[in-house]
């Protein structure tokens, strides 16, 4: 399980009241989610543990280097109804015409889209149970981080850094962590790493 607290380093992401920055807050969410997932028996890797800013590709590479990984990138928006959370997956990606049987880096998400949607649905359902006003269904958006990730991958966006006080966001941390952990626990039995057809009729995992 690869958890990605977005932004960091010189990129603070969204900035809100009381000096709240997206990069600091998502780290809290990621740390709590890591604990919740480890309690369910998952192995968890964070793409960053401090205030640094790995590139999009470096973050994707953490998941792409693991077999059977799942990738969740965590964001906090500067807009949106406070106290809600949304799940995004990549929109439809056309099949690649490559004949090598390898997945092009730019389309790494393509073979995993169905799985990403399934995972996204499960996590969104759990989030909407806990955070009133959150959508019931997942949404699609061309999130840059997801495109190069060769694993079931979703983005979770929490609203928002524009809270009146930091405590409002802090109160959401356990709920988000629990929702992701439950969604992933439900997803685990259905996760089969997709096979990539290669020329000559064989398949490559």
């Amino acid at each position: 399980m690869v958890l990605d607290p977005a932004h960091g380093g010189t990129d603070p992401g969204a900035r809100g009241t009381e000096g709240i920055t997206e990069s600091d807050e998502v780290l809290q969410f990621a740390t709590a989610t890591k604990r919740a997932l480890e309690a369910q028996g998952f192995q968890v890797i964070l793409t960053r543990e401090g205030n640094d800013n790995p590139s999009f590709d470096d973050r994707s590479a953490r998941a792409n280097a693991q077999r059977g990984a799942v990738f969740i990138t965590l964001h906090i928006a500067s807009t949106g109804l406070t106290g809600t959370a949304r799940v995004y997956v990549e929109p439809e990606v056309p099949a690649s015409n490559n004949i090598t049987g390898l997945i092009p880096w730019d389309r790494a998400q393509a073979p995993f889209l169905t799985l990403s949607r399934k995972l996204g649905d499960l996590v969104q359902q759990e989030l909407s149970k806990r955070f009133k006003g959150s959508p019931d269904t997942l949404q699609t958006a061309p999130v840059r981080q997801l495109r190069t990730t060769a694993a079931p991958a979703i983005a979770v966006e929490i609203s928002s850094v524009s809270v009146k006080e930091r405590a409002e966001l802090d109160r959401m941390v356990p709920g988000v962590a629990e929702a992701i952990a439950r969604g992933l626990t439900e997803f685990r039995p259905t996760y089969v790493v997709p096979t990539i057809p290669v020329p000559g009729g064989s398949v490559q995992p």
């Binding site: 969204a14 500067s78 840059r144 495109r147």
Partner: protein, 231 residues
Amino acid sequence: MTPKWTVWLGGVLLAAVIAAALYFPALRRRVNQAKELTEKTAEQARRELLPVAPVSTGDPKAKVIMFWGSRGQEGELLPVTVELPLSREPVLRAKQVLNTLLAGPVDTESRTLPPDAALLAFYILPDGTGVADFSDEIRTSIPSGIQSEQLAVESILRTLEANVPQVLRLKILIHGQEADTLAGHVDLTQLFRVNAKDAAGTQLDNPSPPGSKLPGPIRKAVETMRKATKR
């Protein structure tokens, strides 16, 4: 006994304090006025430097559909019909509708693009690919987040789809350059599908990460814009 000169000095100082107290609010008003004037002048100067989509008085007024944010439905777009003098020429027409989109609706809460962002250039390539070049403010002034960036891009795409059918797909540039993302989230390396008739130009069908080779016509357009930006 207190020397006479200290009484005089005290009196003078007291008068100075009273005068300063009376003068200070007026001074503050003047400073604020001067600040507003400077900001307005800088903004006006910037806008004057930008190429404005020419609106010919001869252009007939036409109804156009703009897609701005819905106040009631968070994260949704709402079609709004407005009447504009509109060119029949697709590039001018695209500039006119995008400038109207940037100018925003009457209800400023429904705007999808930052008020200080500007359209620097717009081209349509022979294969129906539109290239829209926006000023840096589209990246620096937009509220950061997946939802707000997605809404901004969608409002551009849907507005073009509704009013400029010649644009089949769109490449978004920022200040003449390719950008990885709009403001850290939404992927701008791709071509966005504008028109449902466009079977080929779906998003990610032609991803072009910065540094990679762009399709020839888009590369030429990017080069042209880079040169124009340098000038």
